[in-house]
Symmetry: C2
Subunit: 198 residues, 2 copies
């Protein structure tokens, strides 16, 4: 904008948000100033609270402001089932299905040796100690169906097998509501190989 340094600074700061370019940041800043000053102040306070107080759950590594997150602390969760995901948002996605009542472990990424992300960074030592505690019977690996996600899944499955834990991988196949003509051959191949008898 150039005519207000504070406004310029706000526009620049808003660009740290994913998917926000200069134009969007400008629109956001101006809208907050025009008819959302209270919202803006509330957002500032929420940001401060979240950035300062949210850490990771000691057990599953999900974001939590308490030492142990609600899911890990719950007595109603199946201790024998562990679902391993890449990101906290994946936990949220799985929770929305209401089909999983076990516990989670969040890798906070996937193996990517070229970027310097090895087993240490994705919490493998912690995962191994979980496996060795003996109460887990099945590990469901729900990393993303990408090359890196599959590699990470393979690596973790080997670890789990060493602790004599049953390992499963979420099914890869056609998405509900999709049309076969638009599905990539790789996915369709998985859908055929993983077919279920009805």
């Amino acid at each position: 904008m150039r005519f207000s340094p504070l406004l310029d600074e706000l526009i620049e700061a808003l660009r740290c948000l994913p998917g926000v370019g200069p134009k969007t940041a400008q629109r956001m800043a101006l809208q907050l100033l025009t008819r959302g000053r209270d919202n803006g102040k509330r957002l500032a306070q929420s940001l401060i609270d979240a950035m300062q107080h949210i850490s990771h759950c000691k057990q599953c590594r999900i974001f939590s402001e308490t030492e142990t997150c609600e899911i890990c602390a719950s007595l109603h969760r199946d201790q024998t089932l562990l679902c391993i995901v890449e990101n906290p948002i994946d936990v949220s996605a799985i929770e929305q299905t209401s089909r999983f009542r076990g516990k989670y472990f969040v890798l906070l990424g996937h193996l990517s040796p070229l970027d310097g992300i090895g087993p240490e960074e994705i919490g493998v030592p912690q995962l191994i100690s979980l496996f060795q505690q003996g109460h887990i019977q099945e590990a469901i690996i729900a990393t993303n169906p990408t090359v890196e996600g599959e590699a990470t899944a393979h690596y973790i499955s080997e670890l789990a097998k060493q602790s004599a834990i049953k390992v499963s991988r979420i099914a890869r196949g056609v998405a509900i509501g999709s049309e076969l003509e638009y599905i990539d051959p790789n996915t369709l191949a998985h859908a055929l190989m993983g077919r279920e008898i009805i």
Copy 2:
């Protein structure tokens, strides 16, 4: 997310930004927590500073943290030319062209009687006193080429004429780089009527 009240609160607060729905807000919050905590804190501080200290320039009504904005305070601006726009962002757009060296007046909206926005709300009394000061020779009306923008332009042009000020409206026509086949008939009609002899 449900497992972190502070995170839920941050996601909810982010939704005050224009164009940010629940999914985007979640992605933003998680990304800030994962790899942008310093950015998050900086954004919070910028928001507080901006919401508290930015007000409107007393002369042109643009956003400014000082009583008079940089443009109004400048001695290098042509005092005889006044460009009237709807929003602060429009000033930014015109400044980017580097083709206007006069001053601005920001209406902060357009006439919209059904929404209770009349002449008072768009700063008409202030505009009239500007017109009556006598140093303005031409008022360029650059409200949006929408129904409301045109109505507002017409209303202001009458006021300017009462103070014997020359009034102009920004040209309506085909946009540079556009293709005739995709231009709406109304715009094309304007482009034909406003043709220039070459």
